[in-house]
């Protein structure tokens, strides 16, 4: 809802951190991990630009609240254990 200029502060102020911004909502394709092929190299974890990958026993677990589906993890994975699939099945 657009506010009148008179109601606004001098510059926009945000009192919530950017982690409140659920960027996972942007996603149209998602990474799917084949844990059996993972070599635990952690390259996907290092490359994820949104820090949306956590490692559980060295194996990636994607945090879909923030994963935008950019596909960098799948592109970088040397073991080819991550593939990008369309959201919503199909």
């Amino acid at each position: 809802m657009t506010k009148s200029y008179e109601e606004l502060p001098l510059t926009p102020i945000s009192d919530t951190p950017s982690t409140m911004n659920m960027t996972g909502l942007w996603r149209v394709i998602k990474p799917v991990v084949d844990k059996s092929k993972c070599k635990k190299c952690t390259i996907c974890w290092k490359f994820c630009p949104d820090a949306a990958i956590e490692l559980v026993d060295g194996i990636p677990v994607v945090d879909f609240k923030y994963c935008k589906g950019c596909g960098i993890c799948a592109h970088e994975c040397p073991a080819k254990c991550i593939v990008m699939v369309k959201e919503g099945g199909g």
Binding site: Y5, L10, S14
Partner: protein, 395 residues
Amino acid sequence: MRSVMTGNYASAYGAKLARAEVIAAYPITPQTAIVEKLAEFVQTGELRAKFIPVESEHSAMAACIAAETAGARTYTATSSHGLTLMHEVLMWASGARLPIVMTNVSRAMAPPWSVWADHMDSIAQRDTGWLQFFCQSNQEVLDTIIIAYKVCESRGVMLPAMVIEDAFILSHTSEPVDVPDQELVDSFLPAYSPELKIEVGKPMGFGSLVKPDQYMEFRYKAALAMNEAHDRILRVEKEFSNIFGRDHGGLLELYKCSDADFVLVAAGSVAATAKDVVDAFRAKGSKVGLARLRAFRPFPHDEIRALASKVEGIAVLDRSYTFGAGGAMFTEVEASAYSGQKKPVMKNYIAGLGGRDITPKILGLILEDIQVAARRGAANDIEWVDVAGLPRRWR
């Protein structure tokens, strides 16, 4: 205390008297002496301030932005390539509505490499949302820094200001300067206390993302603030004059313009020379005057229009050139002048680039040339003054 000092020291004393609390700067010719002097003030304890040496002008302005956001009165100084390196963060300072005051020692842009007086650096920043004051004397430099803080920190304005002194002509030339008493300055300029600032224990993001449905309202607020700065400059300067006995002429200083048929419009140190030339013409019975653009932002639109309604010709001297358009002062003065009913003959004179002297003789020839142009009803044009290879002789 009356003293003899350079424009650079006048800047340093201005910032000291204004009790700047954070100073972040990077050295550049011919500005360096300003922040060297301020570093000395901080080191000796004469000024209680945090001095932050940084690795670039971009960082200097970023540090000032952060400190100002935390509620500190901040100051920096730069010149030419340093100023233009700041360009991005200058926009941030005004958009975040931070009343930072900075001296720019106006110097030519390279190439060709040059360290001398030229307004291209300042003019290139005219759209950054900063107030811009072009000074004609070292006294005006000192006074304008103090005035600028008061104007900029007022609730209706909250925008940053650039106080501009010409390279070497002011920065390195000594003149008599009255350094006012600290108590008097304190009574004129209270401590900075913004309505909103970063506070420990209360995390907030300043200048955060807005969507297209809300962006324009913030820009409109800044536009209103710059309009408000126009009247605020006049009010604050009147108050300054009552306390300190000096008046620098508001946004457009009119010198012998009330009955003038022809006026020269100029900014910076050359305007002081032009006053002597106007006096010499007056002594011969020639009704000429000088309109000194002291503020380029906000632009004295109404003042120019009122002046244009009374004169036959206006010569605008630009110490910079905007390629493909003309002198920026000329194009803006022309736009304001021609928004009125009467349309005097106008001509643009490009002079003094890269520190070339603009002599009294040249100024006299310009004042004669605009009268010739008016008699001929000449179309408005741009004349490069004193360029080797062009047919006219100006020396």
